[in-house]
């Protein structure tokens, strides 16, 4: 479902070719008076994640987790390499087709990105309006999504009046209300205490059990404890694991240039 094949992402001022000359250019250099950061945000990363998997994306702050999620969401274009999501090759995808692809994904952020000028209901309804779901669908799906995250009673409330955990749950309801096949979560528990974090984690696991592919980026090692789930670990933009224990289950790293392979987890029953 998600395949990265030798993907690099270099922001302006970064060296996209650094991966090929890694040994000679580790500390960065100065070219024509401009300081060039030798390290691209994502450096020749290859992996595949099967449909229905729950995968952790770990690494320290600045390791490239958010950049990798942005690449999957089509918010950034790779400097080199090939990305395929749900069978669609990004290199062959026209930019105007990206919004449609993004509508097949749910995105959750650390700062939840809720709109404070409208109610919880209207925030959750936004992806459905964008996706041209009808009024009847919206009236049915939004309460169901809020019920699912335990916030049915807060539909009319303004998100700013809710606690951090509740706001994050609104973000989850918004990400899942259109029933995407893929959920990308970027540090969704970053601002929450341990109890709230576990609550969010349980919700994501529930959705995964319903068949949604989840890629959860976190640097919170506490969140990983007790969950025997595959991990992709980034360091300085490079994929440093999966380790042998996790490879072979769901997420697996590949040698750059070799065809992508994925191991599909037993598909779970999808529920509404």
């Amino acid at each position: 479902m998600i395949e990265f094949d030798d993907v690099s992402l270099a922001y302006p001022g970064q060296d996209a070719d650094h991966g090929a000359n890694r040994g000679a250019n580790r500390g960065g250099d100065t070219r024509q008076g401009v300081r060039v950061n030798a390290r691209p945000a994502i450096d020749r990363v290859s992996f595949s994640i099967a449909s229905g998997a729950f995968t952790f994306l770990t690494g320290r702050s600045g390791a490239g987790k958010s950049s990798l999620l942005k690449l999957i969401a089509g918010l950034e274009r790779p400097s080199s390499g090939e990305i395929r999501v749900n069978g669609a090759s990004y290199s062959r995808l026209k930019p105007r087709k990206l919004p449609a692809l993004r509508r097949q994904m749910g995105l959750i952020f650390q700062d939840n990105q809720l709109l404070s000028d409208r109610s919880v209901f209207d925030n959750v309804a936004l992806p459905l309006i964008i996706g041209r779901f009808g009024h009847a669908d919206i009236q049915r799906r939004v309460p169901a999504a809020l019920e699912r995250v335990g916030l049915a009673a807060h539909a009319a409330a303004n998100p700013t009046t809710l606690s951090g955990g509740e706001q994050q749950r609104v973000g989850i309801a918004r990400a899942l209300v259109a029933r995407p096949r893929l959920l990308l979560a970027d540090e969704p528990t970053g601002n929450l205490d341990a109890g709230m974090s576990q609550e969010i984690m349980d919700l994501l696991l529930d959705f995964n059990a319903a068949g949604v592919t989840v890629l959860l980026a976190t640097h919170d090692t506490g969140l990983l404890d007790g969950h025997d789930l595959p991990r992709l670990t980034l360091a300085d933009g490079r994929l440093v694991s999966p380790d042998p224990a996790s490879a072979g289950r769901t997420a697996r790293a590949r040698t750059p240039g070799r065809p992508a392979r994925s191991t599909r987890r037993a598909p779970a029953r999808r529920k509404d």
């Binding site: 958010s66 999620l69 942005k70 969401a73 918010l75 105007r96 919004p99 449609a100 692809l101 993004r102 509508r103 097949q104 994904m105 995105l107 952020f109 650390q110 700062d111 990105q113 709109l115 000028d117 309804a125 936004l126 992806p127 459905l128 309006i129 964008i130 996706g131 041209r132 779901f133 009808g134 009024h135 919206i138 918004r174 970027d186 540090e187």
Partner: protein
């Protein structure tokens, strides 16, 4: 019934954009009204210029400003012959049109013109000859060439049988035409500057709205909205500002029209002209909010896609 209808409407892309635009006007009433007042005041003057044009149509005989040559006919010539002669002249290649003014019409016109009319009314017989007003084809812009063309026409008309004399006051017409042309260009420039100001006001308002609602556009982008969905509320806001500003300008201009009507009518009556109409041309009443709406839309496009546009910068965390 209305609420569910609006709810349903807000679930469509266009309905959502409209509801967001109206919401922005409603939630920031002071800022919205201030912007609308600025727009209304800026648009009122062009509206008044348009109305002044309507008023001038009623108050001024514009035919008198067109270059024309008056051919006074032999007093012995009958009206029938005079009218026939006018039709014959209209066929000339350097004449655009002609109008025959009979002896009775000439008398009626002069009788209503102050002291001379009083003298004419005392006479038993009409001493005035019939005349033909000749409108030449479009004259060259260069005054010297125009003068030569007219002089040639005057010579030809003078040589025609039945012509008593030919009158043409070129200098007066030239001065009047030049003055009117200057006035026309001046008002056109003034109206253009004011419309440009309106464009800038709306463009800047939309730009500020874009900055204020940046998060909303970013979130919409992250949720898979295309550019049309993200930008449409701002286009509608621009069009709404234009429409409402145009309607307010129309109202102000109509108030000014009503205030100016009585003294203008009094002035017109002194010159024996008709009174101003009660309302300006209905087409112009529709044109003002229509043009203002287009201006609002153009301002929004300028704010969205102009050189100082506010780009969506997605931030996935």
């Amino acid at each position: 019934m209305a609420a569910p209808l609006l709810e349903r409407l807000a679930c469509t892309h266009r309905g959502y954009a409209l509801s967001q635009s109206l919401k922005q006007l409603r939630t920031r009433p002071i800022a919205s009204v201030a912007t609308l007042l600025v727009l209304a005041l800026v648009l009122t003057l062009p509206a008044l210029i348009l109305f002044a044009d309507d008023a001038l149509d009623a108050l001024v005989d514009r035919e008198s400003v067109r270059p024309s040559v008056t051919v006074y006919l032999d007093p012995a010539m009958s009206d029938l012959d005079g009218a026939r002669r006018a039709r014959e002249l209209a066929d000339w290649s350097d004449i655009q049109s002609t109008r025959y003014l009979s002896r009775d019409e000439a008398l009626a016109t002069l009788t209503g013109a102050g002291e001379l009319g009083d003298v004419l009314a005392e006479l038993r017989d009409n001493p005035l000859p019939g005349s033909i007003i000749v409108y030449p084809q479009a004259l060259p812009d260069a005054p010297q060439e125009a003068r030569l063309r007219i002089a040639g026409l005057v010579d030809q008309l003078s040589a025609e049988p039945g012509t008593d004399r030919v009158h043409y006051d070129l200098v007066w017409v030239e001065r009047l035409a030049a003055a009117l042309s200057l006035l026309g260009i001046g008002t056109l420039l003034l109206a253009s500057f004011l419309l440009m100001t309106a464009l800038m006001v709306i463009g800047n308002t939309i730009r500020l709205e874009l900055l204020r609602r940046r998060a909303e556009r970013e979130v919409a982008d992250l949720l898979g909205a295309n550019r049309g969905f993200r930008d449409r509320p701002f286009l509608y806001t621009g069009a709404l500002f234009g429409l409402l500003g145009g309607l307010m300008a129309l109202l102000l201009a109509l108030v000014a029209w009503t205030i100016l009507k009585a003294p203008a009518d009094e002035l017109a009556s002194l010159y024996g002209r008709a009174a101003m109409p009660t309302l300006p041309d209905p087409g112009h009443l529709v044109l003002i909010p229509g043009v203002a709406t287009l201006l609002g839309l153009a301002g929004a496009l300028f704010g969205l896609y102009g050189p100082s546009r506010v780009k969506v910068r997605p931030d996935g965390g």
